[in-house]
Amino acid sequence: MEQILANGLYLGAQYALIALGLTLIFALMNVLNFAHGQMYVLGGFVTYTVYAQLGLPFVAGLFASAVTLAIIGALIEYFLFRPVIRRSSREESTMLLAAGIAFFLDAVILLVFGEKQRGVPKIINGVLNWDFRLIMPYDRILIGFLAILSIVSFILFMQYSKTGRAMRALAQDRVAAQLQGVNVDRYSMIGFALGAMLAGLVGGLLVTITGVNLGMGGPTSIKAFMMVMIGGAGVISGAIAGGFILGMLESIGLSVLSQYGDITYLLIFASLMVFLSIRPQGLMGKPWG
């Protein structure tokens, strides 16, 4: 029991961080970022390069992942989404653009980093063993802790900083935000960069546990969308709830259902369909909170 909870929490924290980035971009720009998973993978490869290949400290790798993805996010917003949103009034345009970016990033990752699974040296050795009720390697505990720390910092940033307040205002009422002097272009760019940065950060965190490979992008995007659907699109608390719920379900499924084969996600998808048909707006579905 303790074991399932601990695994769920650890996984949920990573997931929530991914979902936060996705929901932020959606709330600010009404863009479904299908390339979110690829951004996560890219973050993993950047940390791999800096930490495993160049031999720099792990923190430097994390930092590099966050900064690289923030820059990539900003560039993507400026050169791709901004002109498309300006010229097109149809939402499908940005969806297709996002899908295109996902394929493009996959190709870039393949060219630059190859198709092999990559891992990094353990950041700390040792395993916490509490009476065999809860067994957890120290590196997982540390990564889980860092993820929770990032979530808390993100919430505090959105709640109390001037930039965070401006982004919330923009998500709640675009026209009113402009009338307070919020520059829509600038804050869309900041929001996209921040969302991409969160994806990169999780990539950097998780590469220490699961390693990274090219194929992880698509499935990660799908999981991120599931979390956002569970919690309610565009709502911070929803993304966090969705992340932890999915993490917990996966953890329960892996330990309880494993004797029946690999059916955890089959069940999760089936329940999600039922859930959404009853509550299509998700748990906390409202325009941003």
Partner: protein, 240 residues
Amino acid sequence: MNEMLKFDNVELYYDHVYALKGVSIDLREGETVALIGANGAGKSSILRAITGLSKTRSGEVRYLGKRIDGLNPAEIVKMGIAMVPEGRRVFPHMSVKDNLLMGAFTRSDKADIARTLEMVLGRFPRLKERYSQMGGTLSGGEQQMMVIGRALMAKPKLLLLDEPSLGIAPKLVQDIARSIVAINRDENVSVLLVEQNSRMALSISNRAYALSTGSIVLSGNSKELMQDDRIKAAYLGGDL
């Protein structure tokens, strides 16, 4: 008195339908000017053109001598124009405090912002009582006070108000009217007031323009307009 705003022969279209066809108005420093007219006359469009929310097709908008048509809203707001938009547009999931602080978005002097906040809360004590409540859960009247307060937080030189009396109890309309007079007098703010409640608008303004289907049809001193038969027939017919 110095000229604050000049709206010169402005045309504004939404797609292919005109909303303003050659409208000219002006406003001098310290004045309260009212814009009255029926639904769809183009009152809100004038305010949207001033703040850059809608692009004009031709004509000029000048503020303190500078051309501002073509600038984006953020730039215009920064120059000292604040607007209380039609339908209030509160930030529903933000506290009263955060709603007000958003109004000071273009400012950076923390001490000065704190002074303005104190002034706003002094003017609208109800907001102080509801300080941490979410904007969307306030009553209509409280929301109206909050968005006027939000606009004041920008420390504007020119305040644009779009139908502040809409959907508010008559008793509160008087309070709001008094606040507008007081703000204009004490805070060194010029006011451009759009109202369907013409009686209220004429009673608290120096001058007024009457608008009909995208053109100015009458203008002049508010007191005189209140006695004008055409105005009486068209706008003051129904009693409050």
